[in-house]
């Protein structure tokens, strides 16, 4: 009926849209984010909004440069989410330029350099995280104990603005390493694990999030809540998170049993660092994960395995970022090898045979 030639079927649609999917993920992120903003106060709020706004601006700029319709893509929610996730992985009191640069790396280098939405091989937020971690090892590893909003000891509005703009003078004095960082350093000195853990936080604060850590990654309980919401709304499937958690539990459990003085117990491994955040919000990223259920299982297990290896045997206390990027690189291979069985064919692609009738 139009001059462009006939429109192909089907002529009805489920109503699903990219924007709706992204919106649901954002909703799932709200509890953990809200807690992070509360726990780390005004500076965290400034950093969060700065990063998200920067992500949107970089997105708009990239779209304009690429000659794509800015309005359509800018509000599909993908840039908002990327900026959001980048902000959640930052130390809560990091200065503004960390967030802006992180958003630049994620959006421009991690996403648009590959061709924009849907084309990137690597998770943009993880690229930003690794870029920042390698480039600014000092700023990216200075965490602090939560100082809830309006509590005594929390910085006021003006002071927070100063932290956001200029960075925190005398940051060293109040900074404290994350649990994984502390463990790594102490193990390197030859201290046994039980001694290290005895004067650190217990598991309950780890679960609630009352520990030093990145802006949005501390509260395990709220992250799991968001993840369950995504599972319930069918935005994500169970495969990757379950594979990731199970593999980590099994691996760290085995090693811990073999030598409790050297290897962390599974509960601490699962609850600390970025692990649960990654399990529900990073490895479930559509673009950079395999398409099939089996593929997702392999992917999740691979991320957990590499994370364990890096956390335990390599130089970095937290290995998720590297693990995710390494596994991202294997996704095309996984998708090539692991395909659904085609109807009427065997797994190897030959037509099914029935015995002569």
């Amino acid at each position: 009926m139009t001059a462009r030639g006939p429109i192909g079927g089907p002529h009805t649609h489920s109503g699903a849209s990219v924007g709706r999917t992204m919106g649901l993920v954002a909703v799932a992120l709200v509890p953990a984010t809200a807690y992070g903003l509360y726990a780390f106060g005004w500076p965290a709020l400034f950093l969060f909004s700065g990063t998200v706004v920067a992500a949107l601006l970089w997105e708009a700029l990239s779209l304009k440069l690429a000659g794509k319709p800015v309005r359509l893509f800018l509000f599909d929610g993908s840039a908002l989410l990327t900026g959001w996730i980048v902000a959640m992985t930052l130390p809560p009191w990091a200065p503004w330029w960390i967030g802006v640069l992180g958003a630049f790396v994620a959006i421009v280098l991690g996403k648009h350099a590959f061709g924009g939405l849907g084309q990137n091989v690597f998770n943009p937020a993880m690229i930003a995280r690794i870029f920042l971690l390698i480039s600014f090892p000092v700023e990216m590893t200075q965490f602090l104990e939560p100082r809830p909003l309006l509590s005594p000891g929390a910085p006021g509005l003006a002071e927070s603005l100063a932290i956001f703009v200029f960075g925190h003078a005398g940051f060293d004095a109040i900074s404290s390493a994350s649990l994984l960082g502390t463990v790594k350093t102490a193990l390197g000195q030859g201290t046994a694990l039980p001694d290290i853990l005895s004067n650190s936080h217990g598991l309950l604060p780890l679960a609630i999030g009352a520990v030093p850590g990145s802006l949005g990654e501390t509260s395990a309980v709220l992250l799991v809540l968001g993840g369950l919401f995504l599972l319930a709304t069918r935005v994500i499937t169970w495969h990757a998170p379950v594979a990731m958690i199970a593999t980590m539990a099994a691996l760290s459990g085995g090693f811990h049993l073999a030598d409790p003085a050297r290897f962390l117990d599974p509960a601490t491994q699962l609850l600390s660092g970025t692990f649960l955040f990654a399990a529900f919000f990073i490895v479930t990223d559509y673009v950079t994960a395999p398409a099939t259920g089996t593929g997702k299982l392999i992917f999740g297990a691979g991320v957990a395995f590499l994370t364990f290896v890096i956390r335990t045997f390599a130089a970095y206390p937290e290995g998720i970022g590297f693990a995710v990027l390494l596994m991202n690189a294997t996704v095309p291979l996984i998708d090539h090898v692991v395909r659904p069985r085609i109807y009427g064919r065997t797994r190897s692609g030959e037509p099914i045979r029935y015995e002569e009738r």
């Binding site: 480039s135 600014f136 090892p137 000092v138 590893t141 060293d172 350093t185 390197g188 130089a315």
Partner: protein, 233 residues
């Protein structure tokens, strides 16, 4: 080599010319004989080898000279020139270090008396071995410490380089006793040395290495400070 039947034999196919040279003097389509090619490439190799030999001969002396200058340059940083009148490299000798390996000692002599010694020590840092050159006065005080080579994280651990930070200069004048031996550690470990932002392992490695270097000096003080004649090996 072509057989009389007009059909080349197997041997001729390998070593003879495959066909008549064409009129314009270009090689025949079958290519040159393998023997000729062997000779040609051999000749190339020979001429090349001769050239290399000449080059090597011409540069050998200057290169050795430059290497020595480098070493002297480094030594000058940890042993002030006014403390000695000898050639530190020329007078080097070896002493057995803990672990049984020989350690090269560069003695600084003034009027035949040992005023200081310099030697190399190794610390284990974040990114592997850190090679450190230290100079110790005969009274056990540090004259200078310099990092020769390391693989620490740039921007974090590389503040141990004198070019990047003054930290390493802080060792000047210190000795066992100043501070006391048990204070030879980074602050985090209860010592008196500063670590720098974000990194503890690297300064800890350097402080530890310097400490073992001083221990080595203490253990061998007698041998190291005994007057020696230049050239004794």
């Amino acid at each position: 080599m072509t057989s009389t039947t007009g059909k080349p034999s197997a041997l001729a196919r390998l070593f003879g010319r495959a066909g008549k040279p064409s009129d314009d003097g270009k090689p025949p389509p079958g290519g040159r004989s393998p023997l000729y090619l062997a000779f040609l490439l051999g000749a190339f190799a020979l001429v090349g080898a001769a050239l290399l030999a000449t080059g090597h001969g011409a540069t050998e002396g200057p290169i050795a000279e430059r290497m020595k200058e480098d070493l002297l340059g480094s030594l000058a940083l940890v042993v002030p020139a006014e403390l000695h009148d000898n050639d530190l490299v020329h007078d080097q000798y070896a002493v057995e270090a803990p672990g049984g390996e020989p350690r090269t000692i560069y003695p600084a002599l003034s009027g035949g008396h040992v005023t200081a010694v310099a030697y190399e020590i190794v610390g284990q840092g974040y990114g592997g071995a850190i090679r450190i050159l230290m100079g110790v006065a005969s009274d056990g005080g540090l004259l200078g410490v310099r990092v020769l080579q390391h693989a620490e994280t740039p921007g974090l651990g590389d503040k141990i380089e004198a070019a990047k930070d003054d930290w390493i200069l802080g060792f000047f004048g210190l000795s066992f006793g100043n501070p006391p031996k048990e204070k030879w550690a980074v602050r985090k470990d209860g010592g008196q040395f500063d670590q720098f932002s974000g990194a503890t392992i690297t300064p800890r490695a350097v402080v530890g290495a310097v400490r073992t270097g001083l221990e080595f000096f203490e253990a061998n003080r007698e041998r190291l400070t005994k007057a020696r004649q230049g050239g004794e090996r």
